[in-house]
Amino acid sequence: MAAIEARGITKRFDGGGGAAVDGIDLASTDGEFLVLLGPSGCGKTTLLRMIGGLEPPTAGDILIGGRVVTDLPPRARHIAMVFQSYALYPHMTVFNNIAFPLQAAKLPKETQKQKVGWASGILGIDHLLDRKPRQLSGGQRQRVALARALVREPNVFLLDEPLSNLDAQRRASARDELQQFQRRVGTTTLYVTHDQVEAMGMGDRIAVMDQGRIRQVGTPLEIYDDPADTFVATFLGSPPMNLIPDGASGLLFGFRPEHFVPASDATGDDAVRFPFHVHRTEYLGAERLLYGAVGETRTIARFPANADLPIHVGATSEFAVRRRDLKRFDRETGLRRDQIRGIG
């Protein structure tokens, strides 16, 4: 096992305008589950492929276990990768798929058998070993891909949106299994996703990426409670953080919808008040959303569905946010202007 580190890593594709990955510094700790989160096209896959050695970086270095591997081919890096498509070998049985890395390492046949048995046992696919990939369901394919990654006990797991091909129900349980599995084997894992729920639920830490840059690295709690800029603030959370321009300070005030409550409920004098004009309410089973505006700015408030609210659509009432739930951002750069805990 080993930590992963990227130092000033940059990738420019031929002909493409800007950099797909733009000078990223990122380091995992040994055994960590680190999630790379960002919108589609922000460069997550490119960064992962550079770490895996499938794409040569334009500049910068990759380190695995403290060793510079930038110029080493993938097979010299002792990593395992799970692709979004799973990339199983379609003409081979499940057994041969899982054994392929072992065959490439020229291990004796007996050892291969033993290790395939071990890996397929952990993932609960020992009864599928004679099948071909096309005879498997999406979830089973994903496990085969994981078993193939696990079998040669790599230094590092690299996973590129491995759950995106599963249906919603299957995804929730796979998320759980995958995280438990990683805890058990304890291998440093870099997990790419564009799904904030996956990121929040699975990661020891999350690195939020946008347009080829890392915006913030921190625990799920830090990222959610203390976003480093307006991008992170609005990318995480559903609905996203409200951002309201403040005339007096020239800053943007940011607060989560669940922290936006009627002024009568915000006791004490540490609350900041806003007049909230409600356009529409929405019931979502467990919670209720109020859509409206503060001044000209669209704003959303969130309550438990059973909350007793003296609110009328079309009316304006006093709402408030506790001072410690209020974040301040620069209107030009979008960066935080007050104290934050998670560091970018």
Binding site: G53, P74, R75, F83, A87, F100
Partner: protein, 339 residues
Amino acid sequence: MSTSAQVVPVAAGVDRRRYWLDREGVLGPLLLLPTVVYIIALVGFPLVLAVLYSVSDATVGDQSLDFVGLRNFRAAIGDGTFRVALRNTVAFTLVSQLIVMLLANLLALVLSADFHGKRLVRFLVMLPWTTPVALGVLGWLWTLDNVYSPIDYAFRQMGLLGPSIGPLRVDNPVSDVVRWLGLGSVFGTGSNVLWLAQPALAQLSVLLVHVWRTLPLATVILLAGLTAIPQDVKDAANVDGAGFFRQLFYIRIPLLLPIMAVAFLYGIVFTFTDMTIPFILTNRGGPVDSTQVLASWAFIKGIEGGSLGEGAAVAIFLFPVMAGVAALMLRLARRTETS
């Protein structure tokens, strides 16, 4: 007096006829019609005619069909030239296509890599396929000419061909090296190889031209097959620690096999039925019928010799192989459809 009473339902009456082409029961047969007519007129009818001719005594002069049983087939098989033609057809087809498969794999592998001038090289590789067969074969006829062959000229200049003593001996640095290697005059001491005048060399020449002609198509088919292998699968093999040869033999070639079969079958169709190459290159299957093939022999017997019945009987021997190839192709197509 309400206007709504005069509104006619949209689908009723006149309007409906405007959409008759949208009905599958009408459009389907209509679109199929040209294909059906084409197949009946240009495939079905000639095939039936050939079978009828082969069991009749029809000649170019007298096309009345008098049934003679299997007489034409017995005559054909009893003929020594027919047996040579049959053997040649099978041998030319199999040997040339095996060579083509080997070369096409190598070429496709090279051409799928990234290098400067790749487009130009691909274009050049395709050229033999785009040239009309007869024109291409004429080019080879000159290249392999018994007197003026440029290949012979090159051999002579290298000292590989021609006398090693006397006034006609060629001396230059290259020929010195060749002679020092003990390869002086390996292709004979005469001034020409006589490619098309000796049976074995003439057969080799026909084979060579078959390879030259079908290699481009096979290469392009395999190239398409190579690009169809998902990048992820190749990446996975890379990450899994497979080197070049392991990737080649365990990933690429196995995944390419179905498409290789397609290329192979196409090649078989083109070489098995070809008569242009022996007809032009070796002047109708010469020397002394040593490069005769079924298609050319059927033409010589049936059309030039005027014996339609015997010619048809010879041509019928092409049928089982073609039918087998067609069946295999359909099976491959169905397999790729369902997988």
